[in-house]
């Protein structure tokens, strides 16, 4: 799929799941908004059972063996798999938005905060903010 087609699909009623299979370092530097870091090894990856389209971002120069391995890994879970043509570089070159994933992640740990009861609220302490 071309970057433009993927961007259109992402705002359609049935948006694809995006998996970034380039590895942690490249993923952390920037990816397609909403992409999940799938790691680099198809063997070590397990998705939830799903349906519908799935777009795979592979590293530059990915071999046909790697493409086939990912396809074989994901197909049994019910997804219709496509590959982002030209990879993440083509997405950037098309001027499409980029996510820097570090800002979107949350990890267990806590800073106390207060849950609001509304814009003009009575507060009640609870929960944890990441």
């Amino acid at each position: 799929m071309s970057p433009d087609s993927v961007a259109d699909a992402l705002v359609s009623p049935a948006p694809p799941l995006i998996l970034d299979a380039r590895g942690r370092d490249q993923y952390a530097l920037g990816t397609v908004p909403g992409a999940i870091n799938a790691g680099r090894e198809p063997k070590g990856f397990l998705p939830s059972t799903g349906s519908g389209p799935l777009v795979l971002i592979l590293k530059k120069g990915a071999t046909s063996y790697l493409k086939r391995s990912w396809s074989e890994r994901l197909s049994p879970y019910g997804y219709k798999i496509s590959i982002l043509n030209g990879g993440f570089e083509a997405w950037q070159a098309a001027g499409l938005p980029v996510e820097i994933p570090a800002s979107g992640h949350i990890k267990p740990g806590s800073t106390p905060f207060i849950i609001p009861r509304g814009l003009c609220e009575i507060n009640s302490p609870a929960q944890v903010r990441e």
Binding site: P33, I36, L46, H105, F113, I115, P116, L119, C120, A126
Partner: protein, 273 residues
């Protein structure tokens, strides 16, 4: 030429219209809009409760009842004439209230992929076949159930298993949109072979008030959402992971009952043995 001058005079001299005047000609539009939450924004139970807690602060009415009606009326968005009115600029006209304190809906929309693909508020918030004014939002359960998708994934990293619970908003704006009175909860549970719960992780998204009293935004960003990463999900004999994304019409703790809460999305995964 004389008829044209007459027409211009007639149009420009037309008096400012009250809401009931509009319905005399725009019957269908008025009927559709009257059924929306916007039309009764100052009469809803949520608003009445919060407004009471706010000691009936008149500033709240600048969005909930700008013309001292039951809610928003025609002139609040379209202005007071002269007739015919200029075409509204969406989303800018929505921003007056939907970027008010405690909201960032339009601001976040402007940075979304949806905005870049030339979609605006009306692209999603108008009921199909409902004309231009059948505006719907989170109070429409069917519409709300499309607000986000939840995915689970398991990857190997440096010999360690990492579970990712990924929330992907489809709203084209912050989730939850609307005011501080709403929240979205992500609940991930690890279950044993006997379906008993072995561990649980819960996260809340929505506006919050920090210890210093300042409002902070902790809503989910459009398109990006959030990835909750949990190492070793198979600990304590866990065999199945279940996750749920819940939208609530109240901001407080999850334990506080909300009869209107909606499960937006669910995901399940069986871990390899």
């Amino acid at each position: 030429m004389r008829w044209l001058i007459g027409l211009i005079l007639l149009l420009t001299a037309f008096p400012a219209l009250a809401d009931e005047d509009c319905s005399e000609c725009h019957i269908e539009i008025q009927r559709h809009f009257a059924a929306t939450a916007m039309a009764v924004a100052a009469r809803s139970d949520d608003f009445k409760r919060e407004w009471g807690e706010a000691k009936q602060n008149p500033e709240c009415l600048s969005c909930h009842a700008p013309s001292q009606a039951a809610g928003v009326v025609c002139a609040d968005c379209h202005g007071n004439g002269p007739h015919p009115y200029a075409r509204l600029k969406v989303p800018d006209v929505c921003a007056r209230c939907h970027d008010a304190p405690g909201e960032s809906t339009v601001r976040r929309h402007k940075s979304s992929l949806a905005a870049q693909r030339n979609l605006n508020c009306l692209s999603c918030h108008v009921k199909l076949g409902g004309g231009t004014h059948a505006i719907m939002g989170a109070t429409n359960t069917e519409f709300l159930s499309m607000a986000a998708r939840l995915h689970l994934a398991l990857r190997q990293e440096n010999g360690q298993q990492i579970l990712v619970a990924a929330v992907r908003p489809r709203t084209g704006h912050a989730l939850p949109g609307g005011t501080t009175g709403r929240s979205v909860w992500l609940i991930v549970r690890g279950l044993g072979g006997d379906k008993s719960e072995r561990w649980r992780e819960t996260r809340r998204f929505g506006w919050l008030k920090g210890p210093d009293g300042a409002w902070e935004e902790a809503t989910l960003a459009p398109d990006i959402g959030v990835n909750l990463e949990l190492p070793w999900p198979g600990r304590d004999g866990v065999q199945v992971i279940e996750a749920e994304l819940v939208y609530r019409f109240r901001p407080g703790p999850l334990e506080e009952p909300d009869p209107r809460q909606v499960t937006i999305s669910k995901a399940q995964m069986t871990l390899r043995q």
